[in-house]
C-alpha cells in the first residue's frame, strides 16, 4: 500500500497539516508516525482516518495520542491492513479534539498542574493486523442516518400533544422545490432553505460536517429545521410550550 510513484519530500510541518494533506488527497494507505521512542500508525481510507494504533491503544484514543505528539517523522509504510474500522469520527473532528486536548495540556502546564495522558486502553492490546486489501469505506460503520416520515411532521409523529403542537410546517427538496406544507407557511420555506444553507456554511468554516438540524427559539416560538436522509429539508414552527422532545431526541438536539 506504500505509494510506488510520486514525489518524495523532506519538509517540516505540523502533524495536523500532514494529516490534512492526506485526507484532502483522499489517500488510502497506512502512515507510520514516530516521535522520540514512540511509534504509531494512522490508517487512511479514501481520506478518512479509519483506524489508528499507538503504544497505548487502538482506535480514537490512539489517533488522539498520536495527534498530540509535537515532533517526529511521518512516512507511508506497508503495515497490514485492518479487517474492521475502529474510528468513525470524521478527520476534522479528530484534529479538532486533538487541538483542544493540546491546548488544555499547554494551559495545565502553564499553571503547573499535572498533565494527564489520553485514556489508555490497555485492554485493547495492540495486535498484528491481518494482511488484507482495504475494504470499501462504505463497509465501515458510519454514524446512523436519520430516518423520518415521508410527510411533514404531524403532532402525532413528533409526539406533540394532539390538537396543539406544530402550527406550520413545510417539506422542501434540496433544490428548494416545495413538496408539501401544513398551515399558513408564509416565508417558512424560504427561511428553511436559507437557514439550513447558512448553518452548513458555518459548520464548514468550523470544520464541522453533516448539518442535521437547526433549532431557533425566538420569543414564544420554536423553529426547527432538519435534513432528512434523502436530502429533503423540513421546517416547522411551534410554540415553545409544545413538547417536541421525541423529535428533538431523534435529531440529537
Amino acid at each position: 500500500m506504500t505509494p510506488t510513484h510520486g514525489f518524495r519530500a523532506n519538509l517540516t510541518a505540523s502533524l495536523a497539516d500532514l494529516v490534512q494533506l492526506e485526507c484532502l488527497a483522499r489517500s488510502t494507505h497506512v502512515i507510520r508516525v514516530k516521535s522520540n521512542d514512540d511509534v504509531g500508525y494512522l490508517y487512511f481510507q479514501n481520506g478518512q482516518i479509519v483506524h489508528a494504533m499507538s503504544p497505548n491503544g487502538v482506535g480514537e484514543s490512539a489517533a488522539l495520542e498520536i495527534l498530540g505528539w509535537e515532533d517526529g517523522s511521518f512516512e507511508p509504510c506497508s503495515a497490514g491492513w485492518l479487517s474492521t474500522a475502529t474510528i468513525t469520527m470524521s478527520w476534522q473532528s479528530l484534529l479538532m479534539r486533538a487541538a483542544t486536548a493540546r491546548d488544555e495540556a499547554q494551559r495545565d502546564r502553564a499553571k503547573g498542574r499535572t498533565v494527564l495522558n489520553f485514556p489508555r486502553e490497555r485492554s485493547q492490546a495492540v495486535t498484528p493486523m491481518p494482511e488484507k486489501p482495504p475494504l470499501p469505506l462504505s463497509t465501515y460503520p458510519r454514524p446512523q442516518a436519520l430516518t423520518t416520515s415521508q410527510s411533514p411532521p404531524s403532532s402525532q409523529s413528533t409526539g406533540a400533544p394532539s390538537g396543539g403542537g406544530i402550527e406550520r410546517a413545510v417539506r422542501l427538496e434540496a433544490d428548494g422545490k416545495v413538496l408539501s406544507t401544513r398551515g399558513e407557511t408564509g416565508e417558512l420555506a424560504a427561511v428553511t432553505a436559507y437557514a439550513t444553507r447558512l448553518g452548513a456554511l458555518i459548520g464548514d468554516a468550523l470544520g464541522m460536517e453533516g448539518l442535521r438540524a437547526v433549532e431557533c427559539i425566538a420569543g414564544s416560538t420554536r423553529r426547527l429545521f432538519y435534513v432528512e436522509k434523502n436530502g429533503n429539508l423540513i421546517g416547522l414552527e411551534a410554540r415553545t410550550d409544545v413538547d417536541l422532545g421525541p423529535l428533538r431526541d431523534k435529531l440529537g438536539l
Binding site: S93, D103, L201, I202, G203, L206, C216, I217, G219
Partner: protein
C-alpha cells in the same frame, strides 16, 4: 478584543471545545478556542451568524438561542444583547450544565459593555 478569560468558564463543562463572541456587525470580539480555529475564519462565520439571527428575527421576535446540530458536534449560540455568544461542543454535552455556564458567561459579558 474583549479579554478571552471571560469565556474560559465554559470550558468547565465536559465536551466543550471552546467559545467565541461575535459583535452586532459580525466582528469577532473574543475567542477561547484551540489555535486551529484561526481568527480569520470568523470573517465569514460572524456575518453569517448575524444573517441567521436577522433571518429568524424578520418576523419581529428577538432571537434568544440557536442550536446547530452536526454529525459529531453542536454549535450553541446565545444572544447576549446585540452580540452572539457561540459555544462549540461535542454531540453529548451536558445541556443543563452548559446552560448554566452560558448564563454566567452571558451575564459577565453583559456587565462588560465598555470593553466591547
Amino acid at each position: 478584543m474583549m479579554e478571552n478569560h471571560a469565556l474560559a468558564g465554559l470550558r468547565d463543562v465536559d465536551d466543550v471545545l471552546g467559545s467565541f463572541l461575535i459583535g452586532a456587525r459580525g466582528e469577532l470580539l473574543a475567542k477561547d478556542l484551540p489555535d486551529v480555529f484561526r481568527d480569520d475564519l470568523f470573517a465569514d462565520i460572524g456575518p453569517r451568524l448575524v444573517r441567521l439571527r436577522e433571518t429568524f428575527e424578520a418576523e419581529g421576535e428577538g432571537m434568544g438561542s440557536l442550536l446547530l446540530r452536526f454529525a459529531d458536534h453542536k454549535l450553541h449560540v446565545r444572544a447576549v444583547g446585540a452580540s452572539l455568544l457561540g459555544v462549540v461542543t461535542g454531540a453529548n454535552v451536558n445541556a443543563p450544565a452548559l446552560r448554566m455556564a452560558t448564563n454566567l458567561v452571558a451575564r459577565r459579558v453583559e456587565a462588560e459593555p465598555a470593553t466591547r
